[in-house]
């Protein structure tokens, strides 16, 4: 009998399994941080967590509120600065980074800047922060988001952070290093990107979700491969670690 879990617990568990051992991950607050912590306690004990403001490999005592707060370098091996963190990405030493945003298009480009006219926006969001840097410089960017038509759009109002831009070869033409979006973990499943066209495809679906449902919540046509995986739900051990060790205050997993 599978244990009961909520959607956030599922998404975090699925994200955690994508983080390979012996690699580096740049995380923000919330779910990505929980995913990295869970990975360290399960499949990837040697996963190295870094924060954009300078914290390297902290022993996180609790969830940070800010990617620059004290927790992000609590008993860290190094409390450096932003230039060090970002140039580590630029040198090719950061494998994964987690991004979020208000809009994402089929090439994984992300908008976190504004809706409407740039000069007098209908809605102004934070902008890049470190997101554009991570999306430009890390090997594999990961996105965790709810899946809806307002979020998965044909065209972003503003491309804050690069995915594959206009498709295959576009990153290289723009001067960006190899990299780009890797997996998008949503409340419906896991999206990936086609190796040739770099357009978004369905990789796997959560239990009980079908292709029609995903497509209906997406504002552009998804590639539907012949074989679509099923995401593995969190194990009892995943849930115990997540609830007892990673997020005992339920700051993240309590929200779902």
């Amino acid at each position: 009998m599978a244990p009961h879990y909520n959607m956030m617990e599922l998404m975090i568990s699925v994200a955690a399994r994508h983080l390979e051992d012996g690699k580096t991950v740049a995380v923000g607050t919330g779910a990505p941080c929980a995913a990295a912590m869970l990975a360290q306690k399960t499949n990837s004990p040697n996963l190295v967590v870094v924060f954009e403001a300078g914290g390297v490999a902290p022993l996180l005592p609790e969830m940070p509120i800010s990617v620059g707060d004290s927790r992000t370098f609590y008993r860290a091996v190094m409390a450096a600065g932003m230039v060090d963190a970002m140039t580590t990405c630029a040198r090719g030493q950061v494998d994964y980074a987690f991004l979020g945003g208000a809009q994402i298009d089929k090439y994984g480009n992300i908008n976190s800047t504004c809706i409407g006219d740039y000069r007098k926006p209908k809605v102004r969001f934070p902008g890049s922060g470190g997101a554009n840097d991570f999306a430009s410089l890390c090997w594999r960017t990961m996105i965790m988001t709810v899946h809806s038509k307002t979020r998965f759009v044909e065209t972003c109002d503003f491309i804050t952070s690069p995915g594959f831009l206009t498709g295959d070869g576009a990153r290289e033409a723009a001067g960006l290093p190899e990299g780009g979006p890797y997996k998008i973990i949503t409340d419906l499943g896991v999206m990936g990107f086609d190796e040739e066209t770099k357009a978004m495809r369905i990789d796997a679906l959560h239990p009980g979700v079908d292709v029609e449902k995903v497509q209906s919540e997406t504002g552009f046509e998804l590639i539907v491969p012949d074989e679509i995986g099923r995401t593995e739900p969190p194990t009892a051990e995943d849930l115990r670690i997540l609830r007892d060790e990673v997020d005992p205050l339920k700051l993240v997993i309590g929200r779902a």
Partner: protein, 327 residues
């Protein structure tokens, strides 16, 4: 110089290294007592219309006493930048102090959500904006700190962030690789909050430095607010720990809890309740006006503000939270 592409964003500051050199040539290197009050530092070094930059990261190690004083002195027409500006940005938006902005991260307070008043201000069309990434902004400061007029990064390429910046695409003369060339940023004045400093300005930061190493060197004038002023012998006992030398500094202001309600590593955590109150009252402009009258305009000093927020008792609680001490 072949420029392959360029952003259309405004450039608010002069990237000419000769102008900066000439300025720095005239700045004294004498090791003199630079202690003054928050009020005096703002009066002397942050005039209307100047370009101002804050150190720290959002609500972490921010020079908040200076931000409050800038609002209290009703500064207008400033240029502004900072790294992942959250609460500092919120405070300056409350006073509508700036109308030119190099934005990397604004409006939001990270996991705490978005500031209603900052959004209103940024959606008003009253602020001229250039967008950058956090690293691009750091690279601009780094270039200035190196005395050169531009820096290189592979960030921003191919995006609207690039388009709305003032960066240009150039090619490497060795490899042909494309880079975003970002113009050096020499702020007229910066304020950085540190753990301790001597009266001359030699300063020590504990924990992450964000981009403050670069900012301290790029800024033409530098205001240091410090949790405590120490005798210079403390600095000379461990010169490895110094990240800002005295000759960069114009003002040294002792402000215990100067990052409040932000986090100061090892000393006090952010006051999440008070930050939540800011977010709540901002929803109603009238209520927010009363809030500002109570906490900023209606007090003479930052110490009074902290007093109104709960004073010593509150600070003791934040000290415990910072140090993971259960109540």
């Amino acid at each position: 110089m072949n420029v392959l592409d360029e952003g259309v964003g405004p450039l608010f500051t002069d990237p000419d290294p000769e102008a900066a050199r000439e300025f720095f040539r005239g700045k004294s290197r004498a090791m003199v007592d630079k202690r003054m009050s928050v009020k005096e530092a703002v009066e002397r070094f942050i005039p209307d219309g100047c370009y101002f930059a804050t150190g720290g990261f959002g609500a972490n190690r921010i020079p908040n006493a200076i931000c409050h004083e800038v609002v209290r002195q009703r500064r207008t027409g400033l240029g502004f930048s900072g790294h992942t500006t959250t609460h500092d940005f919120q405070v300056l938006c409350a006073g509508k102090c700036f109308d030119k902005l190099d934005a990397a991260y604004i409006v939001g307070l990270e996991a705490r959500g978005l500031s209603p008043n900052a959004r209103r201000y940024m959606q008003s069309g009253d602020v001229q904006v250039a967008d950058w990434s956090n690293y691009a902004l750091a690279a601009r400061l780094r270039a200035a700190s190196e005395g050169v007029s531009y820096g290189l990064t592979r960030s921003m390429l191919g995006t609207d962030t690039f388009k709305r910046s003032a960066a240009k695409v150039v090619e490497c003369p060795f490899t042909g690789k494309k880079y975003a060339a970002v113009p050096a940023l020499w702020p007229d004045v910066a304020a950085i909050h540190v753990h301790h400093a001597d009266m001359f300005g030699d300063s020590v930061i504990r924990g992450i430095s964000i981009a403050d190493y670069e900012l301290a060197r790029a800024a033409k004038h530098l205001i240091i607010t410090t949790e405590r002023i120490v005798d210079q012998s403390v600095i000379r006992d461990d010169p490895t720990a110094t990240s800002i030398p005295f000759y960069l500094v114009d003002a040294v202001v002792e402000v215990p809890y100067g990052s409040y309600p932000g986090n100061m590593p090892y000393l006090y955590f952010s006051d999440e309740e008070h930050l939540a109150e800011w977010m709540r009252v901002e929803k109603d402009p009238d209520e927010f006006e009363r809030f500002l009258d109570h906490y900023i305009y209606g007090v003479a000093t930052f110490e009074e503000y902290i007093e109104r927020c709960g004073g010593a008792e509150r600070l003791e609680k934040l000290r415990k939270i910072e140090n993971l001490i259960a109540d």
